[in-house]
């Protein structure tokens, strides 16, 4: 079925179609990976999506996307999540494509969009810096014009899967005199540029998902600027519209809750009344989270914009995910300390899931920042 035909389906028929697609094509070995996969592992799925025209549900059909409504995009993601599909190296599709489609020059669109769809250009995101984490606008990596080039110096960090990428989209400071949000620009930089060094950071999962990226007099043509100079902050914020709901998706918690139940059965606690009480509380938190998530999804379906109150979803989902894994740790006995899954069964790895849940309250805007946003923008409390 082509994209236009898919878009013409009603939501339920479309959902079944997505489900059929993913069940037919998704590589079984990649279901529910315990860690974020590298390009070498997940490119098979990326290429399958591309081949069937499913790679870019949100892009207009004119650019090779599916041109789906927000409602249908949500369904795609929900069904992929339900099936346990791995995230691909999707920054090109999710971030760079929409950025270029909205703000890029014709030349940039013609050059980059096909390369994203073909898997030739694999992107990573250069936002965070060592001293600009939650306070992103205080970033200091700078780009100075020298002839036809920008010359970039500085350091990015928490760059997801930078070792896989051949392009990076960067926020850089281009006007040091301006107020902090106002001197920031967007640049597109090849990762093989002289002067770029990538250093993987081993995280608590002992996984090299993140990297530091160092820029030492890295030159890129001025043509690699996206949109206007010093307007990068506005563009970056505009990109965060639709995506914010996904940080609040119930998927992680739902996944963890099933594993909590498995673990309880394995530990002989499934019928223990104290465990059952705790489990039911967690389960009700999840059910009610789904109900709240659904109210936001319904807004998207009606074509309404999401407000700052979507922060609630992120806070609740991340902390619920953590609480579920804490329950796992507490009932696991000595297994709570194991480095590897219990009994070689990947579904029984309380320590692994517990550690995996730790950063959920930190990334994507820490929960402290999310609570500041709720207090200020939603509850209209005075600035601190």
């Amino acid at each position: 079925m082509d994209a236009a035909a898919l878009d013409a389906l009603d939501d339920e028929a479309f959902r079944l179609e997505v489900r059929r697609f993913v069940e037919a094509h998704y590589p079984p070995a990649l279901r529910n990976p315990p860690k974020r996969l590298h390009w070498a592992e997940n490119q098979v799925w990326y290429r399958l999506l591309a081949e069937h025209g499913w790679l870019a549900p949100g892009w207009p059909r004119a650019y090779g996307g599916m041109g789906l409504s927000a409602a249908k995009q949500l369904i795609v993601i929900e069904e992929f999540e339900r099936h346990g599909c791995a995230r691909t190296n999707d920054h090109g599709v999710v971030m760079v494509g929409p950025l270029l489609i909205r703000y890029g020059s014709e030349a940039q669109k013609r050059f980059f969009l096909p390369k994203i769809l073909s898997g030739e250009a694999i992107w990573c995101q250069g936002y965070s810096e060592p001293n600009a984490g939650s306070d992103l606008a205080s970033l200091r990596t700078e780009a100075v014009i020298d002839g036809d080039d920008y010359v970039i110096n500085g350091q990015k960090t928490w760059t997801t899967l930078a070792t896989d990428a051949n392009w990076i989209f960067l926020l850089v400071r281009t006007d040091k005199a301006a107020k902090k949000q106002e001197g920031i620009s967007f640049l597109l930089v090849p990762m093989d540029s002289p002067g770029i060094t990538v250093r993987p950071i081993i995280n608590l999962e002992l996984h090299d998902e993140f990297c530091e990226v160092f820029f030492d007099n890295v030159r890129v043509p001025r043509a690699n600027l996206v949109g206007e100079e010093n307007k990068g902050w506005t563009m970056a914020k505009a990109l965060l519209g639709f995506e914010r709901i996904f940080l609040g998706s119930p998927r992680q918690s739902a996944y963890a809750l099933v594993r909590l139940k498995l673990l309880a059965e394995r530990m002989g606690l499934a019928e223990d009344p104290t465990f059952q009480d705790r489990f039911t509380r967690l389960r009700l938190d999840l059910e009610d989270h789904k109900a709240l998530y659904e109210t936001f999804a319904a807004r998207l379906r009606r074509g309404e914009p999401l407000g700052a109150d979507v922060s609630m979803l992120k806070i609740h989902q991340s902390e619920l995910f953590q609480r579920i894994t804490e329950a796992m740790l507490e009932i696991a006995g000595e297994n709570a300390g194991l480095l590897e899954p219990m009994e070689g069964n990947r579904a029984l790895h309380p320590a692994g899931l517990f550690i995996q849940a730790r950063p959920a309250t930190i990334y994507g805007g820490s929960n402290e920042i999310q609570r500041n946003i709720l207090a200020g923008s939603v509850l209209d409390l005075p600035a601190t």
């Binding site: 739902a254 059952q276 039911t280 009610d288 709240l292 609630m312 409390l381 005075p382």
Partner: protein, 340 residues
């Protein structure tokens, strides 16, 4: 939800403002506290005129033919206004009553009497009904002193008992919100049989109580936010202190979880969904009203300041028709399976 359904809900909410305006003062509520019968029959008739008592009664029998979603919308507004009239109780059983016309008109108040022990949702079965006479004891009947008659659940079917019939005794115990619970003792009291089962009505009331709790916590939170914005300490509005901001954010989250789960249950009111809603509403309403006191500081602990009224109401509502623990356990029993 269709646009029409949304319109109906908006109409109901708007009509509630006649009796429980969101910004209204609580003078009427204060005046009725700790008095008998604890509510106002004139207001009851006004509710009848607004069509609330026949809300769930079929249109062919003189009602509005609406459903739980509309009752929830109404209960939420009445909860926000701390309205003492026991409307959800009367409205939920109205469809069962043979003489619905007088009930719908607000001329006759009939309240359910079903409970024989604390913390249950199952009608007691020690009460017997034979030969046109009922004997037994029913507890925890909210605002019983205002009833003209009781719809009594017995082991032998439903029975309608007049308040002033021989063999009927009503004892009252004051509640924190200024109302009371009645204990109805029946010794061979004359009664007329009523066909049907009371359990569905008890489910409906349970859901309406969750909505009531939602309304009262919503308004208690709004009062607290106003206070945080205006009260100054150490030279700044206390709402600018980050610790209080983050607490307010957490309370907002609980409020919205409650709103979402009550709305889900109102849209598709299965017993499992109702238990989910009541469990959340009971815990969250106590949390929000406790914290409303804390955020107000000393003044929140005075009886003359309104915020305490919401705490007292939450204390009464939270465990009525089953505590949070009861409903969590019921949910787990009704819906044992989980999926990703």
């Amino acid at each position: 939800m269709s646009g029409d359904a949304n319109d109906a809900l908006r109409l109901i909410r708007d009509s509630a403002a006649a009796i429980a305006p969101r910004q209204g003062d609580l003078g009427r509520i204060r005046a009725l506290r700790f008095a008998r019968p604890g509510f106002d029959r004139a207001v009851w008739r006004q509710m009848a005129e607004l069509g609330w008592l026949g809300l769930l009664v079929e249109e062919t029998r003189g009602g509005s033919g609406l459903g739980p979603a509309e009752l929830c919308a109404l209960a939420e507004e009445l909860g926000a206004g701390l309205v003492p009239e026991p409307l959800p109780f009367a409205a939920a059983i109205a469809p069962l009553l043979p003489d619905a016309a007088a009930v719908i008109a607000g001329e006759r108040i009939v309240l359910p009497a079903w409970q024989e022990r604390p913390n249950t949702l199952a009608p007691g079965t020690a009460t017997r009904f034979a030969g046109g006479r009922v004997s037994g004891t029913k507890q925890f009947i909210p605002m019983a002193d205002g009833a003209d008659a009781f719809l009594v659940a017995t082991a032998d079917g439903l029975a309608l008992v007049e308040r002033d019939a021989p063999g009927v005794t009503l004892d009252l115990a004051m509640t924190q919100d200024g109302g009371h619970f009645g204990t109805l003792t029946l010794s061979n009291a004359p009664a007329t049989p009523v066909p049907g089962r009371i359990e569905p009505a008890l489910e409906t009331i349970t859901l309406a109580l969750a909505a009531t709790a939602l309304g009262l916590m919503d308004r208690a939170f709004a009062l607290s936010l106003d206070y945080l914005r205006t009260r100054r300490q150490f030279g700044r509005a206390i709402g600018s202190f980050q610790a209080l901001q983050h607490r307010a954010a957490d309370l907002k989250l609980q409020l919205e979880l409650t709103r979402a789960t009550v709305a889900a249950a109102a849209a598709a009111p299965s017993p499992a969904a109702i238990s989910r809603a009541k469990a959340r509403a009971a815990e969250a309403s106590l949390l929000l009203t406790r914290q409303a006191i804390q955020l107000h500081g000393g003044i929140g602990y005075t009886d003359e300041y309104d915020v305490g009224l919401f705490l007292r109401k939450a204390m009464v509502i939270a465990n009525l028709h089953g505590s949070a623990a009861l409903h969590r356990a019921r949910f787990a029993a009704l819906a044992p399976d989980i999926t990703e």
